[in-house]
Symmetry: C2
Subunit: 341 residues, 2 copies
């Protein structure tokens, strides 16, 4: 992917609560976000909308944005289509020489106008959802790297695995641990600036596409934190979860859950099993390929308003798992990193 320094993030009409990619990039990317495009909120700051976001100006269009070297699409309509109301912003960005970074299903590089403008102005178009075509099957070699490999696993989709992983990386680095981040989804890839979109690769290459990243970074860091996907009991996405578990050959697992979640999101007829069953399933499934223990829990309490209740929920979660747990966004992951890594 492009290695940008100054990035404008497009998040029209969905910022911040339906703009997971935009907020992820604002919070965790190494590059500077210099503006958010949201035609509903020009003149505000990202920090006005959510206390955990930095003080970045929100402007109505690319024409109002400061100097930048990339435009990043920070929202995704259902189906991953391109919204034609964004065309002016993308066109302006290319005319100003900005690269494009997008995780849409609709590949911007295959849009005739964008391809032509990119060519004329010397811009790169990064469609991060498009897997490289030289991926292959896993060799079972991930455990050979020097780094300890830590994988976040979930009770469901959308419980906060990416955020938990990035919070762990930040907390570990603050503690002086040389920690690397292995992205596996489009937002993680946009934040990290590299990576394979595991949910889009050929199914036979699921583990292989993870292994390739572990082998690439595994001797550069002391600990690798791998972003998990889906859930091992998900009716649709368990294949990806299983491929990441075996492809990463993780040494340690961190179980992520959302407080109050009781059924699979979008598949409400499937109840979530008990937490202890998740622990057994993940550990027993990992074991024949590479032994891994659940060493910590991460509870997303964003739907719990009261701080005391949230803290109690975290304690109950830790008790049920029998390992230390935290809500890394609400309470920070520093203590847990000290205890576990």
């Amino acid at each position: 992917m492009t290695d940008p320094q100054r990035v404008v993030v497009l998040a029209h009409e969905k910022f911040p609560d339906r703009a997971k990619t935009a907020t992820g990039v604002l919070k965790y990317a190494d590059y500077d976000v210099v503006a958010v495009l949201d035609r509903d909120n020009p003149g505000t700051s990202a920090a006005d909308h959510r206390r955990d976001l930095p003080d970045v100006p929100v402007v109505a269009s690319m024409a109002d944005a400061p100097d930048a070297d990339a435009l990043l699409v920070g929202i995704s309509p259902i189906g991953g289509a391109f919204d034609e109301t964004w065309r002016d912003d993308v066109r302006t960005a290319l005319e100003r020489g900005c690269d494009l970074i997008s995780g849409l299903h609709y590949f911007l590089a295959e849009d005739e106008e964008f391809a032509r403008l990119a060519d004329e102005h010397g811009c790169d178009i990064n469609d991060v959802r498009k897997p490289r075509d030289d991926l292959g099957v896993a060799q079972g070699k991930s455990a050979d790297v020097d780094a300890e490999v830590v994988l976040t696993v979930g009770t469901d989709c959308s419980v906060g695995k990416m955020t938990a992983t990035l919070e762990l990386v930040e907390a570990a680095r603050e503690r002086g641990i040389d920690a690397g981040f292995i992205p596996t989804g489009q937002t993680g890839i946009m934040i990290a600036g590299w990576g394979n979109p595991i949910d889009r690769v050929v199914s036979d290459f699921t583990a292989g596409a993870v292994e390739e990243m572990i082998l690439e970074k595994g001797d550069e860091h002391d600990v690798l934190f791998v972003e998990g996907q889906g859930s091992i009991v998900h009716p649709a996405y368990s294949a990806v979860t299983c491929g990441i578990l075996h492809g990463s050959m993780a040494d340690k697992l961190v179980l992520c859950h959302e407080a109050t979640r009781e059924a699979i999101h979008g598949y409400e007829e499937f109840a979530l099993p008990d937490l202890s069953e998740y622990v057994s399933l993940y550990e027993n499934l990992a074991d024949p390929v590479h032994e891994a223990d659940v060493v910590a829990g991460m509870l997303n309490t964003s739907h719990v308003d009261d701080d005391v209740e949230a803290a109690e929920a975290v304690d109950a979660f830790a008790d049920e798992l029998g390992v230390p747990a935290v809500d890394p966004v609400r309470f920070g992951a520093a203590d847990l990193v000290d205890e576990v890594f």
Copy 2:
């Protein structure tokens, strides 16, 4: 896929022991195989080479083959490339108006000469390894079909899951059971004449591509036998296995194993777990999506010369699993079908 009546199977220099697709088609397809192409053995019969194969003439080239409506590529070189020494046969087939059926990685429909000849002679080119592009995520609906769903699962790749599944279908039909076959790999697809190549679909669609087939056939039969792939403890292919397990929402599992196999084929540093561990893993992983029990075992004893030894191995396998077992190729699956389905 094309619905052929009379098929010529290309298997040059590899027939029969390194021609798994060719022998699978000879044994199990509903259409007639009218000749096998093997330039090493012209003038022989398939039955001369292996007692379980039918009496089909082996000829040196397509020019020597009888009337047919399709040429099927029944072997696959490493990497799935097209062997240029086959070009004359393929050209001749197209000039005679035959459709092509191929599971190579190299798509024959994208070969300029073959595409042109197919167009000129009105032939279809079926590259069965190429997934349809309208597949999607699973909805968790496979259990809604009328049919009982039976899935073969394995201790490893290449232990005989496809053969076991097809033998079960044949034995069930002989017993008067209305049994359907759900293919998931290229050879199964060539035999059945339809199906999704699950190992080639986008990883997020692994379960969905299985579910689509179950929903299509699930109300037409009383029992569906689903061809399994890989193994849930395979360092490279477990994702596909997991997706088929959850996507099929199988009611019953049949565990397939090869006698004397002790490590993952091609990944010899990974020992196979105990059989009881496989049973627990498959059942526990299935359970949160749809409860499934291992109800039978299938032991491939093709590497055991002596019939008595083979029978003893089957008995020991059944004892260890605690369910009925058989080698369906060596001893037939009829009794087991009576007992279990």
